[in-house]
Structure formats: C-alpha cells, structure tokens
C-alpha cells in the first residue's frame, strides 16, 4: 500500500514544508487531526515502525501522529530527523534510544515508550536524567512469551526439528525404538535464570510435566518462588544440576555473555539451554563450540546477535540447535495489547500522569 500524505491546513510553514519533503523523499505516513475547538495543539508522537492497529487507534484523537510506515526498521539517520521536536516517542527494540537521539529530539520530548518488555536498547538513565519517563510493555506479553519458551524447550528436547526434517527428506523409515529419542521433562531439574514475570510463568507451565525440581538464579530471592516451589540457587549450582537451563532474565551490563564457555563447561552433557531473554546473554561462538563438541546436548534460541541471524551462521548448521526469529510475543492478542499499552504509556505521561507501565 503506497502511503498517502495528508497535509494539514492547520500547520506552520515549517511543518508544511517538512511534510512535502517527506512525501517525496521516503515513505512517511502522516495523520493530522484538526481540533478546531481546542486552543491547544495536540502533542506530536512519532512511531518508529508499522505497528498493530490498537496502538495507532489509541493515539489517533489524542496526538498528531507521524510514523515510519515501513516493514523495515527505521535507519538511524532517519530516526534522528523524525524525532526532532516530538513530544512522545513510540519505539521498538530495533531502535537504539541513546543521548544522541534524545539530543536530536530536543527539549520537547517528554515521553518514550518501547513496544517490548526488554529495554536494553533504551538508555533509561539518560532519559530519566532529562525528566523523560520510559514506558515498556510487561504483563500483556507474559503468557505468549511463556508459552513460546515452553514450546521452544520441547522442540529442542523432543527433537522436533530433526523430526520435521526426517519426514521431508525421507530418512523416516518406520518406527524404531531408539531413533530420535529425546530428553523427557519427567524427573528433570529445571534451572531458570531470572525468575521474573516470564520466568515464573514458564516454571508454572513446566511443573505438570513431572519436573522434579525447579532452581532459579536471580539478583535476589523472590517470595513468590514458594508458590511453585522453586529453590534459590547460585548460578554455578544451577548450571551444574539442571537438565534444562532457561535464560528468562532482562539483559543488563552485568550479564552480557553470561552463558559462555565456562558456563557451558559447568552444565551437564545431557543438558539443554533455552534462551528467550536477549541474544546478548549468550556468547554465540562459545555456544557453537559447546554444541558441536557435545559439551551440552542442545540449545534453543528465540533471540540472537544480531537479529536477524545471518543465514550462514555456524549455529544454523547444527542439528541440536533450534533458532526461531524472535517470535516469543507473537500472538495477535499480545502484539495488539503491547501496541495499545505503549501508546497509553506515552499519552498518560504527556498528560502529566504516571505511565501504566514505566521502567523503574
């Protein structure tokens, strides 16, 4: 669909010119609502990509929305241009929001929200220093993400990828007692790195599979762990004892590359590593070596470095590594809810209220 440019009649010369330039230069969709009765101008909100309708619908009568109406992530140069003079910024995890972007936006910027629960791409400290609250989208994506994490675990543990391939390539040759046998969850020890909302939801879903023990590593003990129950452990113990190691934590400066060769060495040779946190949690070269050499049994990643992963990446050559294109929150319900919550965060902040979901 070719974007249409709607040029508002109520606009300053500067804005008018910018819109015409934009129409010819690139695909930018502009909505402008004329509020004839109100003396105050609507706040300007820039949306960095095509996003689900629920968020745009929410913004429609409350803001002057400009949008990078593309399937592709907005290039850095474009982002720096588009944020100039905006009041609110609706961004995605593919957008790095740092001091430079905040400088480009200027003093008008009063609210930033990302359509994700991860916020490692936003310099929250820098935003807060400038009095800009940062919103995110926890809770509304928890069940979809937990479901995908369990799905990925089972796809690896029960060798679903190899199974699908064997059917397609004809190596399936009637039932054989030991062929493509996988690790069961019954009697297993599951180790959750980061027992936050998502980690807890994953552990809840794994319990009825007959899991014998749930361990978790976290910055601090969580009271709600008793509901599972899950046992607080230091990372080394978790790595040594777990049959399934799950990366469910937020990515911070402290835990980049946490899952490296020394971590994989500590794991059981029959253990499986699942990562739905951020690609940066795992050292991918070390992971490749560990999988290739049999130091660990298998791995499943929904997140990689970079995203997308180049098609010639060595991890893609391994039977015992499953990689998904970052679809943890990919359900209609979840994505629409994320879009709306992100929009809501921005509008509430611009109205001087607290965000429904602010990164603290």
């Amino acid at each position: 669909m070719r974007p249409r440019c709607v040029i508002s009649l109520v606009s300053s010369a500067y804005t008018h010119t910018r819109k015409i330039n934009s129409y010819f230069k690139s695909s930018v969709l502009i909505f402008t609502t004329r509020n004839m009765s109100s003396a105050t101008k609507l706040p300007k909100v820039f949306v960095t990509r095509k996003v689900p309708e629920d968020g745009i619908k929410y913004l429609r009568n409350k803001a002057e929305v400009t949008q990078w109406n593309s399937d592709d992530a907005i290039p850095r140069g474009e982002l720096k241009e588009r944020v100039r003079g905006v009041d609110g910024l609706f961004c995605l995890l593919t957008d790095k929001i740092d001091a430079e972007i905040l400088d480009c936006a200027g003093p008008s910027l009063k609210a930033v929200s990302t359509m994700s629960v991860g916020y490692d791409h936003v310099d929250v400290g820098e935003c807060n220093k400038r009095g800009i609250p940062v919103g995110f989208t926890p809770n509304v994506l928890t069940s979809a993400t937990a479901e995908l994490t369990v799905t990925l675990l089972l796809t690896v543990s029960r060798r679903i990828k190899e199974g699908i391939e064997a059917v397609k390539d004809g190596s399936w040759g009637t039932w054989k007692p030991l062929w493509l046998c996988g690790q069961g969850l019954d009697g297993a020890t599951v180790g959750v790195i980061g027992l936050g909302r998502i980690g807890f939801a994953v552990a809840q879903r794994l319990k009825p599979f007959g899991v014998a023990k749930i361990l978790y590593a976290d910055a601090e003990e969580k009271e709600y762990a008793n509901q599972l129950p899950a046992e607080y452990a230091n990372l080394d113990q978790l790595l040594e004892e777990s049959d399934f190691v799950l990366g469910c934590c937020a990515l911070t400066e402290e835990n980049v590359g946490l899952m490296n060769s020394s971590a994989f060495k500590k794991m059981k040779k029959t253990a499986i590593f699942i990562n739905t946190s951020r690609g940066g949690l795992a050292n991918q070269d070390d992971l490749y070596q560990a999988l290739k050499s049999g130091e660990i049994l298998g791995a499943g990643l929904d997140v990689t470095t970079p995203e997308p992963l180049p098609t010639d990446h060595p991890l893609l050559s391994l039977d015992n590594c499953v990689i998904l294109p970052h679809i943890a929150s990919a359900t209609l319900k979840s994505r629409n809810a994320m879009s709306e919550l992100c929009a809501r965060n921005i509008i509430e902040a611009l109205n001087g209220n607290s965000m429904p979901a602010e990164v603290k």
């Binding site: 029960r158 699908i164 390539d169 062929w179 599979f209 990919a330």
Partner: protein
C-alpha cells in the same frame, strides 16, 4: 535340562538396558541388526523367516502380527510382547485363539506421549516449522507485517477438546491446565470420573468439534473410528482451529485434511502419525505451511523407550514361564 526358549527381537533394543540383560540370562536371542540389514526395519520376508520356531517375539511397532505371521512362527509360539500401547497391528482374536499371550506397554509411555502431544500442539500453534525455515532461508528480517509477523495462537484462554480422555488424554489435559486454558472438553464412549480433576466437560463429538480451538486426538483405534476426522468433521470445526493427532494415522482422512488445510476450512494441523508410516516425501500434506508432520515420535523419550523395552521383557519372560503377564492386552485380562 530343557533348551533355553528362543526369542526373536525385530529391532534393536538398548545394549545397556535392563531388557537385554534379562533376556541374555534366560533366552536364546536372535535380534535384527539394522546396520547389517541395511534397512531401518526388518523386511517382511526376513521377519517371517526369523520367527519360525521361536517361543517369543519382542515386537517393535508396526510389524504386523496376523495369520501369516502366526503360521510362520508355528504352534510353539507362546508369547508376543509389543512395545506399544496401540494394538492396531495385532490380530488379537487370532492370537487368543492360538493361545498366544500378548503383552503391551501402557503407562510407561504415557508421560512421553502426553509431552509429545503438547510439543506438537504448541509447535503447530506457534508456527515453529515456518519460523525455523524462515531463519534458515533468510526470510527473517525481510518482512514484519505490521509487527504481526508469524503471529500464532494463544493457548491461554482457549477451549481445548480432547478426543479420548484415556491415560494419555488425561495427562495432556493436566499439562494444559497450567497454561490457563478456558475450557477442557472431551468426548468418548463414556464419561470418566477422573475428568473432574482436570475440569473436563463430557460432550458429544460434534459439540467438541464446534466449540474447540484445539482438538487433540488421543484415543485408541477400533473399527468404528477409522477416518473419524473426515470432510464432514472438518466442516464442523472452527476455521481458526488446530487439529493434533497422536493416536493413529487411520483416524484421519488425509485427503480431506489436505483440502481443509488448503482452503482454510481448518487453520492448522500437527500429526505425529500418518497413513502410511513413513509418509511418502511427495505427499501433498508436506507442501502445506500449516501442516506439521512428525515421524511418530510420541514415545520417543529415552526413559520411555527403556521402560517399554523392560516391561516387554517382563511380559515375555512371564509368558514363557506360564505366569500372568505384568501388562496383558485388555482382551486377554
């Protein structure tokens, strides 16, 4: 001293397992060696030759035990142990008529099959086949679809219909409860008391079809449910529904399934069992992005396969002694 009973095993069982140890103490074993044989499962003619004169057969599914096989073995055959809970490959009436005891492996594979059913349901709902392919083929990153790229179905809040709330169906239901499903429906010949443990609602098959977001078939096969899932059944199902089958291929009319998936009458399907097995690589179902086919992995967990081999060994050794089997087939209980 009487000679040791002759045992034939038609596919390799774990060398480090209990079963082979037990057998070595008590039987004269012939085991099909697929490395030597060159094909994955023993060809029929060799199978018929190999069972001649044996007292017991340790049987890997789906080798057929029919009149031909029983004749080939001879009247001295005392016991067959099948490593399966499905019995559709055995002529049980004929076995009983010839006084051949038959054991099978219920319970020890229940967790594995329930887990596989959930794995298949989730992988189909969340489009793993497409996702993995997109990563390999470089499609990842080329399309975003309004941030709706590869969106799948939520399990939370859905209505799940289990066709056959037996051991396996019940364990599937138990696991799905933790996902926050809205309703658990089941159908079958009779209402089950234990269904209340999973908040199961007993409904007619047609009602289950009409109301379910996920239909998971876990039932055993009998002459009355061949092609239970036919064109009419797919018409009754929601067009947004997903069908999962871990029962037997014959439960589904595969041509009708193809049509339903192709036209969007059915949203997606995940099948672990087909007709035949293996499914030919050029089968139309394999061309559909919304059909996930697995090579009968239901009980393919290390624990389950060991347990199945061990229980089969115990069934066979009991049968050879003339003792009651630990797990006789229901018709011989």
């Amino acid at each position: 001293m009487s000679a040791r009973p002759k045992l034939y095993i038609n596919q390799g069982i774990p060398e480090d397992g209990e079963a082979i140890k037990l057998y070595r103490k008590q039987c004269e074993i012939t085991m099909y060696d697929e490395k030597k044989g060159g094909v994955v499962s023993v060809p029929r003619e060799e199978f018929l030759r190999s069972v001649k004169g044996v007292d017991a057969i340790h049987l890997a599914y789906p080798a057929k035990i029919d009149n031909e096989a029983l004749d080939a073995a001879g009247p001295q055959l005392k016991v067959i142990g099948t490593m399966s809970v499905g019995l559709d490959h055995l002529d049980l009436a004929e076995c009983s008529r010839r006084n051949v005891k038959v054991g099978y492996t219920p319970d020890v594979l229940t967790d594995a099959v329930a887990e596989a059913a959930i794995a298949l349901t989730l992988a189909t709902a969340r489009r793993h086949k497409e996702g993995m392919a997109d990563v390999k083929n470089g499609v990842w990153g080329s399309t975003w679809s309004n941030s709706l790229y590869l969106c799948g179905k939520d399990i939370k809040g859905s209505t799940v219909g289990i066709v056959g709330l037996g051991r396996i169906g019940f364990e599937v239901a138990k696991r799905l409860k933790a996902f926050g499903i809205n309703r658990l429906l089941y159908c079958g010949r009779t209402h089950k008391d234990y269904a209340s443990e999973v908040d199961g609602e007993f409904v007619a098959f047609d009602d289950l079809l009409r109301q379910s977001d996920f239909v998971i078939a876990c039932c055993s096969i009998n002459p009355s449910n061949h092609k239970l899932f036919n064109a009419e059944a797919f018409k009754k199902m929601k067009s947004s529904a997903i069908l999962v089958n871990v029962s037997r291929g014959i439960l589904i009319d595969q041509d009708a399934l193809y049509d339903a998936l192709k036209t969007g009458e059915l949203h997606a399907a995940g099948i672990d069992v087909t007709t035949p097995e293996p499914l030919p690589v050029d089968h139309p179902l394999l061309t559909l992005p919304n059909c996930t086919v697995l090579p009968h992995l239901g009980s393919a967990s290390i624990n389950a396969r060991h347990a199945m081999a061990n229980l089969t060994a115990r069934n066979i050794l009991a049968g050879l002694k003339g003792d009651p089997l630990p797990a006789p087939v229901p018709s011989q209980k």
